[in-house]
Amino acid sequence: MGEDVKVGCAMPTGELLGEEGEKNKEEKIIKNTPKEAPMIKVGQKAPDFTAPAYHKGKFTSVKLSDYLGKWIVLCFYPGDFTFV
């Protein structure tokens, strides 16, 4: 999964940032099922995901955990071409 594979749609990986591997295997099923997802809490690891992106004239794919080691601002908004 670490290669430059084109993602068709955004997808939670089921992992938490900086905690890949064995530990989360059981939780993975739950985390991939949005309705069962736990509430986001400050002081806890952010859920990882991959998502298609438009960046500087190119279509690409972004994995949140690729930004580990940096400060991240993740912003959601209602829609392109909306006014605010």
Partner: protein, 133 residues
């Protein structure tokens, strides 16, 4: 990140946003059709099929330090987000020995929590400081 496709992101950036920001949007514009990511972050509005204005500050270890969620008609205050990041960075660099009181701005006084400060905050921090620019 929004539920729009990367194709719509391209059109919005190329035709409108690049007229507001020189060179266009410098960071990746992410697409979350169906709102799967928005759902796990708790900001996806299933009825409207859109994502509300969620903003998450995540530190270099992947820990969420803060978030804010607004309904669509009210925009964010970017300066406040930057101020919060600067405050979290200061706390992190001090390894938790310093804390930033209400209204803190870069260069302003911090607090050093410890036995000597208990009951003495009123001596060093005044309520007006919460409103300083």
């Amino acid at each position: 990140m929004s539920v729009d496709s990367v194709f719509v992101h391209k059109m919005w950036n190329d035709n409108e946003l690049s007229k507001m920001v020189d060179g266009g949007i410098p960071f990746p514009m992410l697409s979350d059709g169906g709102g799967k990511v928005g759902t796990i972050y708790g900001i996806y509005d299933e009825n409207a099929g859109i994502e509300t204005r969620g903003r998450f500050i995540i530190d270099p270890d992947g820990v969420i330090q803060g978030y804010e969620v607004l309904t669509p008609p009210v925009g964010r205050n970017v300066s406040e987000s930057i101020r919060q990041i600067q405050a979290f960075q200061l706390v992190r660099e001090s390894k938790g020995t310093q804390a930033t009181p209400s209204g803190w701005q870069p260069g302003k006084m911090t607090l050093k929590p410890g036995p000597d400060l208990v009951g003495k905050v009123w001596e060093v921090w005044k309520t007006e400081m919460a409103y300083e620019k």
